[in-house]
């Protein structure tokens, strides 16, 4: 029982990161109908950005948490504007393939620039926050990452739903012709959505850096959970992916603990496959009917 609690705490931490990773992924898909296979790479850039900020520039963590996401967001918006916009006129297949290769290209670029494969950053906080029954220690770090990442994901939901900033994206997601008639420019809104998605990816990277380490494989390690969380939660539901990410992390953790580490790797794939077969629309459908 004690063991499970401990495991669950760990799962919540990872699940929070998954949820944040998936949020950016879903924002981009919701607003621009693009599945960004390069999203993991943007998260990776966020992690490396954190390292660069802390270790190279020697600036404090709060700078990493604010500046790095903005840089990643700007890069994402650039990718959308320069590469994907011309492709979108052709067909979605090209856009999908382009994001796959862009992701790999970014991974390779990082691998070349930072030759040492494994970098690390210190924890944000050290020490224990609270002691729970059964001698389990809730570290500040776990609490920070768990609560912080979830908070960011929730904040993303609020921005998208409530703020004027998000209204254009939401409108464009709901009906792109109607959105234009309300004065929302397609190129601007798409770039904004990618910026927003990139910011969330960068944040996910900064959160993920301490616990998961910093290496190019972070890209592939997080794109799959992002996708799976989106399938579980509902590809267009920002609330859903938070739930999806946590469910995924819990199942992975339990599989690793009670079956084997191979089962952990397999878990996400089996889960996504089951969902695609049984409930492809995910747990939460937000009822956005794409009105052409």
């Amino acid at each position: 029982m004690v063991e499970i609690l401990d495991l669950l705490l760990g799962a919540l931490k990872i699940g929070a990161i998954y949820a944040l990773a998936a949020s950016g992924f879903v924002v981009i898909h919701k607003a621009t109908k693009t599945v960004n296979f390069a999203h993991g790479a943007f998260i990776m850039l966020g992690a490396y950005g954190a390292w660069a900020t802390l270790t190279l520039l020697k600036w404090p963590y709060w700078v990493a948490y604010t500046a790095v996401p903005i840089v990643v967001g700007a890069l994402a918006a650039l990718v959308e504007f320069v590469i994907l916009r011309p492709l979108r006129r052709a067909d979605l297949f090209s856009v999908l393939i382009a994001t796959v290769f862009l992701g790999v290209a970014m991974m390779e670029l990082i691998r070349i620039v930072y030759e040492v494969e494994l970098l690390s950053v210190p924890s944000v906080f050290s020490g224990v926050l609270a002691e729970l029954p059964g001698e389990i220690f809730l570290t500040k770090e776990t609490a920070w990452i768990g609560a912080g990442a979830i908070a960011c994901a929730v904040a993303a939901t609020l921005v998208f739903e409530r703020l004027t900033l998000g209204r254009g994206m939401k409108a464009m997601a709901s009906n792109y012709r109607g959105a234009q008639l309300c004065g929302y420019s397609v190129p601007v809104t798409y770039a904004l959505a990618w910026f927003f998605g990139g910011v969330l990816a960068g944040l996910a990277g900064v959160f993920a850096a301490p616990p998961m380490g910093i290496n190019p494989e972070l890209a592939t390690a997080l794109i799959v959970p992002a996708f799976v969380a989106a399938v579980i939660g509902g590809f267009d539901s920002l609330k859903g992916v938070i739930v999806g990410g946590i469910i995924l992390a819990i199942i992975e953790t339990l599989a690793a603990a009670y079956i084997s580490s191979a089962a952990k790797s397999a878990a996400s794939f089996v889960l996504v496959f089951l969902f695609l077969l049984i409930r492809p629309e995910g747990l939460f459908t937000e009822g956005t009917r794409r009105h052409a």
């Binding site: 004027t164 209204r167 254009g168 939401k170 409108a171 709901s174 009906n175 012709r177 109607g178 959105a179 234009q180 008639l181 309300c182 004065g183 929302y184 420019s185 397609v186 601007v188 937000e286 009822g287 956005t288 009917r289 009105h291």
Partner: protein, 231 residues
């Protein structure tokens, strides 16, 4: 105020509109009539910037808006109520009206309360999602959304499609009320009666071209029009 000069619209092979020209002054209303496939929707959606123009020019209030996209043109003061309404099904009525404010650069948006005063039915349903409204309410919302932008020219594409007679009458009455303030109208219709209620003159289109122009009352009951429609 609106000058359309030799407007042409082509999708790939299909020539939907061929060299359409007309003018509209401030406060005037014109109806564009014709059967399906005549090119009416293509013409107005192209003027408004939703469709790409393959030729010709559109000048509005002295500014050349030919190359501009819909999101920019709506800020100039031309608002379209499209044939399929193009509402946001998951937005409430309130949210829909708020969403349109983005088009109001340099103009004060029309407050939602004014829209509700014009369409009391909408006020009762202000917190309902657009997807759950009846056909008539959706049409009113689409018109309301367009009006939020405080346009000087309102374009209505087949506003009567799928609506019961009673609703149509009440919507027409509301529109007549607004026109008093100097709003210009372009009304795309298949139905002469509705056209007559809203506009003084009309242009009849067939297979992409304007084939007849004149006062609407002349069109009614005219053999020429029947021929123009039926060729």
């Amino acid at each position: 105020m609106l000058k359309v000069d030799e407007l042409s619209v082509q999708y790939g092979q299909v020539v939907a509109v061929r060299k359409l020209s007309f003018e509209l002054g401030t406060g005037e209303a014109v109806a564009i009539l014709g059967t399906n496939g005549a090119g009416k929707t293509s013409a107005v959606e192209s003027i408004v910037g939703l469709l790409h123009k393959s030729g010709g020019s559109v000048i509005y209030g002295g500014t050349d808006i030919t190359g501009q996209p819909a999101s920019t043109i709506v800020r100039h003061g031309i608002a379209l109520v499209p044939q399929l309404r193009e509402l946001f099904f998951d937005f409430t009525v309130d949210e829909t009206l708020l969403a349109a404010r983005a088009a109001c650069r340099g103009r004060t948006p029309v407050e939602s309360d004014e829209i509700y005063a014009l369409f009391p039915r909408l006020a009762e349903r202000r917190r309902s999602q657009a997807g759950n409204l009846s056909g008539g309410e959706q049409q009113m919302l689409a018109i309301g959304r367009a009006l939020v932008t405080r346009p000087s020219l309102l374009v209505l594409d087949e506003l009567s499609a799928g609506l019961a007679q009673g609703i149509v009458t009440s919507v027409i009455a509301s529109l007549k009320k607004i026109r008093v303030s100097g709003l210009s109208l372009v009304v795309v219709e298949q139905n002469l009666e509705i056209a007559a209620a809203l506009a003084e003159r009309c242009i009849v289109m067939s297979v992409g071209e304007a084939v007849w122009r004149g006062p609407v009352h002349e069109a009614i009951g005219s053999e020429t029009i029947r021929d123009a429609f039926f060729h």
